[in-house]
């Protein structure tokens, strides 16, 4: 049952046998079977032999209760993941799969305690998992063979309404709504605190792939998403979000990344290609916490987002097909050191949000990006409702580009100096409108296998608990990506 090089199978068998024999020991309050729980307690054999010699049931029960605190140096070691946070040994693993103690993920979630690892064997899991328990880690043993399949009948693969939960090394596909969904408790001012999705593949879900809402302190890393009629990655309604999207891939979606009213998200060192639109943070009045008031988009490779063979929710989203980075009605975004090429309509766009309440972009900085190949409109675009007041402190400097609207964009809206007023206006409707027919997300081809996390069978769990923090983004260390 146990899966660690430090495990002691004999000891564990003895431990479980003893526990089973002493059925008068109090069961855990959650009622889970003790025999289904594996604890890393190599020194327990000696302890139990001594206790049996004394014959004290009370002492035995106390020993069982203290198993998790045995303090053994062999008890799982200590792990640190990118972004900080440390998991201290020992830890408990609940194994799920055919022939394991738990046959459904939900049963294991219901039995688990905070800090424990739920380890999924390869298989197709046809269930909708709800997590309302803090600090769990749900991990697949094989990213490409542990699959949560919604069969286009279930809404979400894993829905998390608890703090500190991490989902790792698995695939979530074919859900009507979302693959993995982290959410706070709306309107009660209870914001989900701490979440992470690492080495997760999401594809062909009807809304988002990995979705964080009303949540703070989060991280998406090493994930892959394709075939979504919205976006594989979405972070919305949070201020501060304190979230990082790093080293992810998005291709063959409507949007590569979308985030509404999400102040404080960094999107770095990732690839967005073959979508309809690459990256788009926005401000909207349809969700709370407007406007979207600050974030970082840096070091990303954003190219060829002109793919008509992609899904889209409906015709109302016939927008901005063929654009790379579109910041719509955002403030205080730093869009720096990205490679944004061959998005045929436009590469980097600062534009007003025109639907419902109008949000003009303010104080965004577009600097040191490498762009080319936007033949239909321009590489760099600043589109405001009215230019008579100047550039609204939006600025462009140090970019490599071939075309821009206004043409002298780095002169009329240069960083570090007052902008000109009354410069060339842009027809935002012409820029934003139009898109080719789209495909049904259910018909999209599955993606190729993706690289899994290191040592999934043995790595100790690192929940996104209060000792953990997302990756710290250091802009000065980020470089413009090279050509793929």
């Amino acid at each position: 049952m146990r899966s660690t090089p430090n495990s002691d199978t004999n000891t564990n068998t003895i431990t479980k046998t003893l526990i089973a024999q002493h059925s008068r020991c109090p069961r855990p309050r959650d009622g889970r079977p003790l025999t289904a729980v594996t604890r890393y307690v190599p020194r327990m054999r000696t302890r139990f032999i001594k206790l049996m010699a004394v014959g004290s049931l009370t002492a035995l029960c106390a020993a069982v209760a203290s198993c998790g605190d045995s303090g053994s140096s062999n008890a799982g070691g200590t792990a640190t993941t990118k972004g900080g946070g440390t998991s201290k040994a020992p830890f408990t693993t609940l194994e799920v799969g055919e022939g394991k103690a738990y046959t459904t993920i939900q049963n294991a979630v219901d039995a688990a305690k905070g800090g424990e690892l739920i380890l999924l064997s390869p298989g197709v899991y046809k269930e909708a998992v709800v997590v309302e328990k803090d600090n769990l880690v749900i991990r697949g043993l094989d990213r490409n063979k542990v699959i949560i399949d919604g069969e286009f009948t279930r809404d979400n693969g894993i829905k998390v309404l608890a703090n500190g939960v991490a989902v790792e090394n698995l695939t979530a596909r074919n859900h009507k709504s979302n693959g993995v969904f982290f959410t706070g408790d709306y309107d009660s001012k209870v914001v989900l605190d701490g979440y992470r999705a690492s080495y997760v593949t999401v594809y062909n879900n009807g809304d988002y792939g990995i979705y964080a809402f009303n949540a703070t302190r989060g991280q998406f890393d090493h994930d892959y998403g394709s075939g979504h009629p919205d976006s594989p990655y979405y972070i919305g309604q949070c201020n501060p979000c304190n979230a990082v999207v790093s080293e992810v891939v998005a291709e063959n979606n409507f949007l590569g990344y979308s985030g509404t009213n999400s102040t404080g998200v960094s999107i770095v060192n990732s690839r967005f290609s073959q979508n309809r639109i690459g990256i788009s943070p926005q401000s909207q009045d349809g969700e709370k916490e407007a406007p979207n008031d600050g974030g970082i988009i840096a070091g990303n490779n954003v190219y060829d987002n002109n793919n008509p063979d992609t899904p889209q929710k409906d015709e109302k989203l016939d927008l901005a097909f063929g654009t790379g980075i579109v910041a719509a009605g955002t403030n205080n975004y730093k869009i720096v050191k990205n490679r944004v090429v061959d998005n045929k309509r436009a590469n980097i766009v600062l534009i007003l949000w025109p639907f419902g309440q109008i949000f003009d972009p303010h104080k965004n900085e577009v600097r040191d990006n490498v762009t080319s190949g936007a033949k239909e409109y321009a590489d760099l675009v600043l589109a405001l409702a009215d230019t008579s007041g100047g550039a609204l402190d939006n600025c462009f400097s140090g970019n490599t580009f071939e075309t821009a609207r206004p043409a002298a964009i780095e002169k009329v809206a240069a960083c570090g100096s007052a902008s000109e007023k009354g410069f060339e206006g842009i027809d935002a409707t012409a820029l934003a409108g139009g898109a080719p027919p789209y495909k049904d997300y259910k018909t999209m081809a599955p993606p190729p296998d993706q690289p899994g996390m290191p040592d999934p069978a043995t790595s100790p769990p690192v929940p996104a608990d209060t000792s953990w923090n997302p990756i710290k983004v250091e802009l000065d260390k980020i470089k413009v990506p090279t050509k793929v």
């Binding site: 709800v130 309302e132 809404d155 979400n156 829905k159 309404l161 009507k176 709504s177 979302n178 969904f181 959410t183 706070g184 408790d185 709306y186 309107d187 809304d207 809402f213 009303n214 919305g236 309604q237 349809g286 969700e287």
Partner: protein
């Protein structure tokens, strides 16, 4: 459309609502039997199920025949409403994503399934009997957390 309800009109409206009629979109869902619904102040020691929501945050709409509830991404607004028996509560998706309205106590009323409450769509539920009706969107919440709401029927 919401409007004030004179007493006579209320009686007539309640009678009409017993029959299958038209809600805001031409299809009306009639609430189920709520006879076993615990009422505020009932003798049930566990009290009525509220999904952890505060009854005192209720928006009093007891003078309205038709009560709108906005369904946004991802919340119901207002989250707690207080209405009179026979009131039609119209849920309208004003967000960008699909939602649903699922009774948190199974069978307490006929909910609105996924697919019937997509963006711009509207669907009404008529609450004929007094009680506390807890509901949630099963896509974006559970009975106890996330997108959920209450209808308190006097």
């Amino acid at each position: 459309m919401s409007h004030r309800r004179p007493f006579a009109a209320a009686l007539a409206g309640a009678a009409a609502l017993i029959a299958v009629g038209c809600g805001t979109d031409g299809i009306r869902v009639v609430a189920g039997d709520a006879s076993e619904v615990p009422t505020p102040g009932s003798a049930d020691p566990a009290g009525p199920f509220t999904g952890g929501l505060d009854l005192t945050e209720a928006v009093d709409q007891r003078n309205m025949l038709d009560v709108p509830v906005a369904v946004k991404d991802n919340l119901f607004e207002p989250r707690v409403v207080r209405v009179s028996a026979g009131t039609s509560v119209a849920f309208t998706d004003q967000g960008l994503n699909p939602h649903n309205v699922i009774p948190s106590t199974e069978g307490q009323f006929v909910g609105i399934p996924t697919g019937d409450l997509d963006p711009k769509m509207s669907k009404a539920v008529t609450f004929d009997k007094p009680g506390i009706y807890a509901y949630h969107c099963s896509i974006h919440g559970t009975a106890n957390k996330g997108q959920r709401g209450l209808v308190i029927v006097d």
